[in-house]
């Protein structure tokens, strides 16, 4: 996915459209902060999730963190390759490291999130 065309949350998740469903993952910044990722727990298929609901867990050598749904929707696909190869999140956070895909997304909800430019500014502010 092209990071420039994604939407971002303050908790460092991204969401982007692929063939009218929406893929969700964690950002480059998030994977760097977590360090080597050792385990990913994914949501169940067909689960209805609300925005900001805990949907996945990511464990690294440093910490275990929750991954929240950027918007509400229904889980229609999960990246089960992460179960055996969690390092894909480190290697390719915007590509092969995606977590799950949501259908029934209300596109207006995406406007609540940050654009790539806004997320960059947000990260710069965090660094201060």
């Amino acid at each position: 996915m092209d990071p420039e065309k994604l939407w971002y949350t303050e908790d460092h998740e991204w969401i982007g459209e692929v063939n009218s469903v929406y893929a969700v993952g964690i950002t480059q910044h998030a994977q760097e902060a977590l360090g080597d990722i050792t385990f990913v727990e994914l949501p169940e298929l067909e689960r209805e999730v609300a925005a900001q609901e805990e949907t996945a867990v990511v464990e690294s050598v440093k910490a275990a963190s929750d991954v929240y749904a950027p918007v509400s929707g229904r889980v229609v696909q999960v990246n089960s390759e992460l179960e055996t190869r969690p390092e894909l999140v480190n290697q390719d956070p915007y590509g092969k490291g995606w977590f799950y895909k949501l259908a029934d997304v209300i596109t207006d909800d995406l406007n609540e999130l940050m654009s790539a430019d806004e997320y960059r500014a947000y990260l710069a502010k965090l660094e201060e």
Partner: protein
């Protein structure tokens, strides 16, 4: 060093059972395992040497300086072990009180529990305490259950949320969830403490409780705590004090006076009982007026010179068998009596002094994570060094080569490349100076020959471990 399984030889035994002198009873097939357990077959001397060698590779506070921040690896004075080993303590039977002939022999133990609970309550400005919980996290869970009991009793059915700052003790969210609450995390400010505006942003009538750690895991005193208590109490939310860092304020200020309604004590951190790491431990709860009716029961009460047991009418009931880990409570009692009032004040004074001494000596070589004075632990960020290739983990490993236990690294998560140093009160100036000299030497080496740190440790029984592989490819021979 070989695994004990590698020393195994078929048929070798440490014990021989006597020949069967009763008729053999057959177990039902579904109770029998299909294959014999893969136990090592070794002689007694093999076992003794194996575990003696393992114990020699252990590191503890009795071996070396152990500045593991947040964990408070205090030295445990041996006098507490002597008291706990007295036959009158060590040989008590939990059912001794139920035998009419021996009921009188537990009066001493009851008196100790009664006095210890009163002392704990007094120290923290609480109305009463219970020594039942068997660990700090168990104390947290008990405290969260007490908050739930209070709201249930008052009909506050809408209250379903507990607020936990990101600078709180790491176990708080899990304890609140186990007691049936939803958790809302509130970020601390860039100065490392909780600010009133951020707190107000998440505060509403659904909040049942607020769990604060003070000093927090940044080693900083939450200076807005009085205002936060007011705001919580305005909506009948209870303020929980996590006692993880009570050792920094014992005898200086009291959680009850700051507005806290309920708390737990980590006896191993504040009153020098052995660090449980799985047990046995003791994490008493303390409560103010509002939660008094719900304390775990039974409780030791004192009437007309006789100690007996009573369970308060609205008690949440037992949360441990008997009185939890009584002998751990005995050690804490001995420690408190040994130091006394003024001695315990010195303990917290010196714990804070030692942390600030280290901070003062290291602050030009390592960047302090916050600009405020620290309490009992000091937090640095190795981010400037990490940008040049030497990370907090490399400093931790290099300290192992120099005979020290490493400080806590990469926690709290709010600080990048975190190095969290907690010396505790028992270390001499000479020990602190030697440690600081070593840290300054490592800071210099990080500039001049970083590979020494990057390749450390080289003097330990095993070198740098592959932590990713350890987490991903767990292969336990006995499973």
């Amino acid at each position: 060093m070989q695994l004990i399984f590698e020393k195994s030889r078929a048929g070798r035994r440490a014990i021989n059972f006597d020949a069967l002198d009763v008729p053999e009873a057959k177990l039902a097939p579904e109770l029998c395992r299909a294959n014999a357990a893969a136990l090592p077959e070794v002689g007694e001397l093999d076992v003794v040497r194996h575990f003696t060698h393992l114990s020699q590779r252990n590191v503890g506070i009795d071996d070396t300086f152990y500045p593991l921040g947040s964990c408070t690896m205090k030295y445990n004075p041996k006098i507490a072990e002597v008291v706990a080993a007295m036959p009158g303590m060590a040989k008590l039977h939990p059912h001794q009180s139920s035998s009419a002939a021996y009921a009188g022999t537990v009066q001493g133990a009851y008196a100790l529990i009664h006095e210890l609970e009163a002392m704990l309550a007094e120290i923290a400005g609480m109305k009463a305490a219970s020594i039942q919980p068997i660990a700090g996290a168990h104390g947290e869970l008990t405290g969260a259950l007490l908050m739930a009991a209070y709201h249930r009793d008052k009909g506050n059915t809408h209250k379903d949320t507990v607020i936990v700052p990101d600078s709180a003790h790491g176990t708080n969210p899990a304890s609140a969830v186990m007691a049936g609450f939803k958790v809302v995390e509130v970020p601390s400010d860039s100065d490392g403490t909780l600010h009133v505006d951020k707190f107000q942003a998440v505060m509403n009538d659904r909040v049942a409780g607020v769990m604060l750690t003070c000093p927090n895991t940044h080693g900083l005193f939450e200076s807005n705590v009085a205002r936060i208590a007011e705001l919580a109490h305005e909506v009948d939310a209870l303020l929980y004090y996590d006692g993880a860092n009570l050792n920094a304020i014992v005898g200086q200020c009291r959680p009850g006076d700051l507005g806290f309604d309920v708390m737990h004590y980590n006896l191993h951190k504040t009153f020098a009982t052995p660090h449980g790491m799985g047990g046995p431990g003791c994490g008493p709860v303390g409560v103010g007026e509002r939660l008094l009716p719900y304390l775990p029961g039974p409780r030791v009460v004192h009437h007309d010179g006789i100690y007996s047991l009573e369970t308060p009418e609205k008690s949440i009931g037992r949360i441990a068998a008997f009185f939890g880990n009584f002998l751990i409570a005995v050690r804490a009692y001995a420690y408190m009596r040994f130091y006394g009032d003024e001695g315990l004040r010195d303990v917290s004074r010196v714990a804070v002094l030692n942390a600030n001494y280290i901070h003062a000596r290291l602050k030009h070589a390592f960047k302090p994570a916050f600009g405020k004075p620290f309490m009992h632990e000091c937090v640095f960020t190795a981010q400037p060094q990490a940008e040049k290739g030497v990370r907090a983990m490399d400093f931790a490993k290099a300290l192992l080569d120099r005979g020290y236990h490493a400080p806590t690294v990469y926690f709290p998560l709010t600080v990048k490349e975190c190095l969290m140093i907690e010396p505790t009160e028992t270390e001499s100036k000479e020990t602190l100076d030697a440690f600081c000299d070593t840290m300054l030497e490592l800071a210099r080496l990080a500039e001049e020959c970083p590979e020494i740190l990057q390749q450390a440790p080289i003097t330990t029984p095993v070198g740098r471990l592959d932590e990713v592989k350890a987490a991903k490819d767990l292969n336990c021979a006995c499973l």
